[in-house]
């Protein structure tokens, strides 16, 4: 680690102010950022900690019936407090990493980072969530822009994520044996007006919606409906743990199983 200053704001406004300092970077749970700092792969001069900002923490339902999660809310808290409102999302949170990771890591950190194998991006995109920052609201469809790429601008902070609650949903993940991140995972959400399917872990372009499956499931919400669909392996990740073809194959299996778990 290189030396850095730490700011501990207690409001979003102060955090935004602190972010104006030269080479400032926000830090939430530190579960991604601290290993990066330890490996000396990042050298911010100021770390702006978001974990002391109460207005960025918590889980509640808004008037529009959306589940609203503060950007600095830990996975463990979402697992516990969202269960009654949106069980599929709570279950996603409950299966991230291990207890230590869940007690530190936050939803804001996860979707700001947009790791191509992370869980929350699938939950947010699959639910059609809205990402609220200190500046604006961004639809999930516009927010996730590729591997580690988001619509966030320099210094912009994710303050809240609002999830429309589907009539039913399920997150099915296949673990990468070493990291236990998803090798491939599918988030399937069934709404009154259609089905959304988001896939993580598989693509070189990060989380994405699987349009063919959405259409097929929209017409017939049954595991069989996706059985015949093939995914093109061209843009899929190929590494030690699975070839592009294998990942493409798992997309179908995970989606089918998610649907089966719902119906």
């Amino acid at each position: 680690m290189y030396n850095f200053d730490v700011e501990m704001p207690s409001t979003v406004a102060d955090a935004v102010k602190a972010m104006a300092r030269d080479e400032a970077q926000p830090m939430s749970g530190g579960q991604t950022l601290i290993p990066t700092l330890k490996a000396r792969l990042a050298a911010p001069s100021v770390l702006v900690s978001l974990t002391g900002i109460d207005e960025m923490k918590g889980v509640c339902m808004d008037d529009a019936g959306r589940l609203c999660i503060g950007g600095a809310t830990t996975h463990a808290r979402v697992a516990a407090e969202a269960a009654a409102h949106y069980p599929a999302l709570a279950s996603l949170a409950a299966r991230i990493g291990d207890p230590a990771v869940r007690n530190r890591g936050t939803i804001g950190g996860s979707i700001a980072n947009n790791d191509p194998s992370a869980c929350y991006p699938a939950g947010a995109l699959g639910s059609g969530a809205t990402i609220t920052t200190n500046k604006r609201e961004i639809a999930a469809d516009d927010y996730f822009q590729g591997m580690f790429e988001t619509a966030l601008e320099e210094g912009e902070i994710v303050t809240e994520v609002k999830f429309p609650v589907p009539t039913a949903a399920h997150y099915e993940k296949f673990l990468q044996p070493a990291s236990r991140f998803p090798l491939v995972a599918a988030y399937v959400a069934k709404f009154g007006d259609g089905v959304r399917v988001a896939i993580t872990g598989a693509s070189n372009n990060g989380v994405f919606r699987w349009g063919e499956a959405e259409a097929a499931l929209g017409a017939n919400f049954a595991a069989d409906a996706v059985a015949g669909l093939a995914v093109d392996a061209t843009d899929m990740i190929s590494d030690l743990h699975g070839t592009a073809e294998y990942r493409a194959h798992l997309i179908g299996v995970m989606t089918k199983r998610a649907v089966a778990a719902i119906s």
């Binding site: 044996p177 070493a178 990291s179 699975g242 294998y246």
Partner: protein
């Protein structure tokens, strides 16, 4: 009735109290006044000419004490290799120089180029970043078969090629082997890879060098399995420090698995720098450094063939193995694929003629050396996969084929240079069939199939050679060390005693099991016995712990020393009891005169030894302290039969281990609970190799599995509850305790049955693929099933 103490009791591990309450004393817990820290700048390229290392800017940075490069070590010896293999033509192996810090060339990612000593670790690391290194990249030599081709880039320019040696065992049988293959009714051939592994002990390596100007004494605190070996190798061959001026301490060590046997550059560096800087110098490996600097394990590519006659008797075996040495020869690397591997190729079978050929190859990778089992897992895996494949080709039951070919008479001289003293392979197989509930498998398979899963059952046998080893024999085979063990038993005046053993415990529980043996012999409470190890200034010259040798060799030394103690104590007792020495009996901690009620307690005798008022001073010296060195006359040969039962998800290729059963014959057992624990740990590592672990380099020599994000360690959730049995006991005939050693069996015996089970499951789903390499990852299983 289970005993509550002594030999055969499941005494609780006394050392666990300190380990589990955070009171262990590990090397990193030791800090010396004024200590400086070293950071090693390591090569990030696999192969290249080291043009220049400019340390000027770095040396001027805050806190920097001194910066060392390869040039500072030119006048100093390199890292020695402890075993010289002679090849099949009678030539000695090619042995490259192994510098403490890279000189002239870098030869693997992770090789230390410079060492920065500074007040703090952060300062050392900052300064290391300011060192300017110029390297002209060379093509990396990674693939072993390419490495030995004509004209291949050489890892070491001063060697004739990348071939370290081309070794053979059973050369005298080669013609007979070839003839048997010509006349065979059936030949089974198998090509396989034994995947490279990273040992990953929980505690990373640490070295702390200290130098005392007043008496010119060097001390090295280090995470070692064998401090005396380090003292000898480092003192004599690297730094030129006489042994009486060098103390090596290996305190609590958090796991070794072989990778802490070897003498490493960081140890030599810290010892050297402590004197050069006149300050204690400490290095603690990070986990990332461990991946690129701890010796790796396994990494064999083999072709193996079995000839059978028309009645399915094995008539000959032939193997051809490429063994990766990495860039340099780690301390015992040459012995692993040869004398710890070739001599096991007979396995549990009476194959009359065997020919083993092993080519050891230099590559631009981290050196490879012994890892739990060392050579024996590689032998077992080849043989037990091959026998299984033969059974399926011949459409006979794999267990029946094994039983038919078992060695049943002991002692048995194999065609590969060793003589098994005892064993009962039929008994362990019978026991295995019972504990694995083979009879219930068909029903369990049905139940799995009803859930859309495939289920497979795989077995294997194993034999291993441990209790390493007779010194005169290993000397002939190229060892540059003796492999005896030592113990001193120091009895105190009030009857308590200390055993100073040359064995080293890094998780095995010696403090408990060794005490049990002495307690049994004397008839005193285990708590009166302290076991001391790991400090060359306290214990007699010992060879340390590896090769499942501690109880078989170290325990035997301790028995011999205790026998001497008892013999002397009897003399003292006979004096005190005014009886003839031959009438004195020792039982339950008291000496009595046979056939009388006259007796004297152990504590009275020990007191007399140190307060010799009424004592036969004219016949014996006062005091009660004895040392013994024990050199075994043979290896010991634990054996057993293992069964694995897997469930396979045909849609994803995911394999889960549903049952694992191990029936072992370890001879006599000192502490059944500790033995069970050793088997459990070994099985976890064997299953880890079979299902999960894989150390992979790309063509440029970059390590792809360089952290836990990509290197999959087995976790509790990957493993079933094991069924472990060690009631089959054929005691070793040549050591006083009749023990065989149990530390490596689990890791040696488990991989083949896992793979055999996976293949069985795949066959049951109509996919007869013949072989699949480890680790049997979901991706590989799925891909194999697509093709068949």
């Amino acid at each position: 009735m289970p005993k509550d103490g002594g030999i055969g009791a499941s005494s609780k591990r006394r050392e666990d109290v300190r380990f589990l309450t955070g009171n262990g004393n590990y090397t990193d817990d030791i800090n010396k006044r004024g200590q400086a820290h070293v950071f090693f700048l390591r090569s990030d390229v696999a192969h290249g000419v080291l043009k220049s290392v400019d340390t000027a800017a770095a040396a001027a940075m805050d806190g920097v004490v001194q910066i060392f490069t390869g040039a500072d070590f030119e006048a100093i010896g390199g890292m020695p290799c402890g075993w010289q293999v002679t090849d099949k033509n009678g030539e000695v192996m090619q042995e490259p120089k192994h510098p403490v810090l890279a000189h002239g060339k870098v030869r693997h990612v992770g090789e230390p180029i410079a060492a920065v000593v500074a007040d703090t670790l952060a300062q050392a690391r900052d300064a290391a970043e300011a060192i300017v290194v110029e390297i002209d990249d060379l093509p990396a030599v990674i693939n072993m078969k390419n490495a030995v081709k004509e004209g291949a880039t050489k890892v070491h320019d001063d060697l004739t090629s990348n071939l370290c040696y081309d070794w053979a065992l059973g050369a005298e049988n080669k013609d007979a082997v070839d003839a048997a293959f010509k006349n065979a009714a059936h030949v089974t051939t198998l090509e396989l890879v034994n995947n490279r592994l990273v040992a990953n002990p929980m505690e990373p390596r640490v070295a702390l060098g200290d130098y005392n100007r007043s008496d010119d004494q060097h001390t090295l605190y280090t995470t070692s399995q064998n401090p005396h070996v380090i003292r000898l190798l480092m003192g004599a061959f690297v730094l030129g420090i006489p042994e009486h001026k060098l103390r090596v301490v290996a305190p609590d060590v958090g796991g070794g698995f072989g990778t802490k046997i070897f003498h490493y550059q960081e140890e030599a560096f810290c010892t050297f720098a402590a004197k050069a800087c006149n300050r204690p110098v400490k290095w603690t490996s990070s986990r990332s450094e461990a991946f690129i600097s701890d010796a790796h394990g396994r990494d064999h590519v083999s072709k193996i063939e079995l000839a059978l006659d028309a009645d399915n008797n094995f008539t000959a075996l032939r193997t051809d193995t490429y063994a990766n040495m990495g860039a340099y020869l780690s301390t015992f690397a040459p012995s692993v694929p040869t004398w710890l591997h070739g001599i096991l190729m007979a396995g549990n079978y009476k194959t009359p003629v065997i020919y083993v050929n092993v080519k050891a190859v230099f590559t631009n990778t981290v050196p490879v050396d012994a890892y739990r089992g060392a050579g024996r897992p590689e032998a077992t895996y080849q043989l037990e996969r091959l026998v299984d494949k033969a059974a399926h080709e011949l459409k006979v039951d794999p267990i029946a084929l094994r039983r038919q070919n078992f060695i049943t008479e002991f002692p048995y001289a194999t065609p590969v240079a060793v003589e098994y003293d005892t064993g009962d392979y039929v008994a362990t197989m019978d026991k295995l069939e019972e504990i694995s509930d083979l009879a219930g498998f068909a029903a369990r398979r049905k139940a799995s199939e009803a859930k859309g899963k495939l289920r497979g059952f795989g077995v294997n046998c194993y034999i291993e050679a441990c209790g390493i080893a007779p010194s005169n024999l290993v000397g002939q085979l190229g060892a540059r060390a003796g492999l005896y063990e030592s113990a001193t038993v120091r009895v105190n005046a009030t009857g308590g005693l200390v055993v100073m053993t040359g064995s080293h415990s890094h998780g095995q529980g010696h403090e408990t099991s060794f005490a049990q043996v002495v307690a049994e012999m004397i008839g005193i409470d285990e708590n009166m016995i302290e076991i001391v190890h790991g400090d060359t200034s306290k214990v007699p010259m010992g060879m340390g712990t590896y090769g499942s040798r501690s109880i078989a060799v170290g325990g035997s030394a301790m028995v011999r020393a205790t026998e001497k103690i008892i013999a002397k104590a009897k003399k003292i007792a006979s004096h005190l009891l005014e009886a003839s020495e031959s009438d004195i009996e020792l039982k339950d901690g008291a000496f009595s005169v046979a056939g009388t009620d006259k007796s004297v307690a152990w504590g009275d005798v020990t007191l007399a030894a140190y307060v010799p008022h009424n004592y036969p001073l004219e016949d014996i010296e006062p005091g009660l302290e004895e040392t013994a060195f024990y050199d075994p006359s043979n290896f010991t040969y634990p054996s057993g039969a293992y069964a694995c039962e897997v469930e396979l998800d045909p849609e994803t290729g995911q394999v889960t281990i549903e049952r694992f059963s191990a029936a072992d014959d370890f001879g006599n057992i000192i502490n059944p609970m500790i033995v069970t624990g050793q088997v459990h740990g070994g099985l976890a590592q064997g299953i880890g190799q079979a299902l999960l672990e894989n150390c992979v380099y790309d063509d440029e020599g970059q390590l792809l599995s360089a952290s836990y994000m990509d290197y999959a360690m087995p976790r509790a959730s990957d493993l079933p509850m094991y069924d472990v049995d060690h009631s089959c006991q054929t005691p070793c005939t040549h050591n006083p305790l009749g023990v065989k050693g149990c530390g490596e069996a689990g890791a040696i015996g488990s991989p083949p049955s896992v793979v055999n089970a996976v293949l069985d499951a795949m066959r049951s789903g109509g996919h007869d693929i013949g072989h699949i390499d480890m680790p049997v990852s979901p991706s590989r299983v799925w891909a194999a099933m697509q093709k068949s």
